[in-house]
Subunit: 137 residues, 2 copies
């Protein structure tokens, strides 16, 4: 299951990406428009800022804004920051690899074999979708 954090984060990012002007948007506006609990959204936007996706401006006229072009932001990076590893099992993770406690030999593990395929197919979807791709239509 996708966590609400990730869900809300994607919605917020695409909302910012769909803005005609690249000017700061207030948290409250995003929260209202996307039906997200404001305090929760606050913490999400903060992590998106700390990981280089968003810039922010304080005070009147302040808010959050995208730092890059939506077409330059693949969903792989978004998902990894918000949700964590894309792989269903650490032993098939590219960026968060970890050996399993059970399982003496990964090459003979049926779960490993299956989840490798899942990882690859999911990865391809995320790679083929940027923020810009999600907005249209």
């Amino acid at each position: 299951m996708l966590s609400k954090k990730t869900k809300y984060g994607i919605k917020a990012l695409t909302y910012l990406a769909s803005q005609s002007k690249r000017e700061p948007v207030q948290i409250s506006e995003i929260a209202r428009h996307e039906n997200i609990p404001q305090k929760f959204l606050e913490s999400i936007l903060l992590t998106l800022r700390n990981t280089g996706f968003l810039g922010s401006k304080k005070g009147k006229g302040g808010g959050y804004y995208l730092l890059k072009d939506p077409g330059e932001i693949p969903m792989t990076t978004v998902i990894r920051v918000l949700e964590g590893p894309i792989a269903m099992v650490p032993c098939v993770s590219l960026n968060f690899y970890e050996k399993c406690d059970d399982c003496p030999d990964e090459n003979k593990c049926t779960v490993h074999k299956l989840m490798l395929q899942v990882r690859d197919s999911v990865l391809e979807v995320y790679r083929n979708n940027t923020l810009a791709d999600l907005i249209l239509a």
Copy 2:
């Protein structure tokens, strides 16, 4: 992340599928061979029995055994029973559909749009893999 329940369940199923003879295998043997906590495995095998994957025999010489041919068991059905919905979000689930609280219009939801693609690609992997496919090499 895949739950250990699912991981252990798949391992147990493939272990049973790889048996040359279709005779009852004891829980303790599976647990030992696959490094699974026995009591945990016990409950997993029970749900696999109650959902029609396994048969069981009590008493001496008893144990669990596959009811169908491994080639007749697609991973879609295994995953759905052990892990639940394949979709990352209820609003794109085929078997467990549910509307989102936020989100007035699914067709305009960017998360929906992305997760539909993810569901389809994952589903294809699970459909193309039966228990028999996981065993070989």
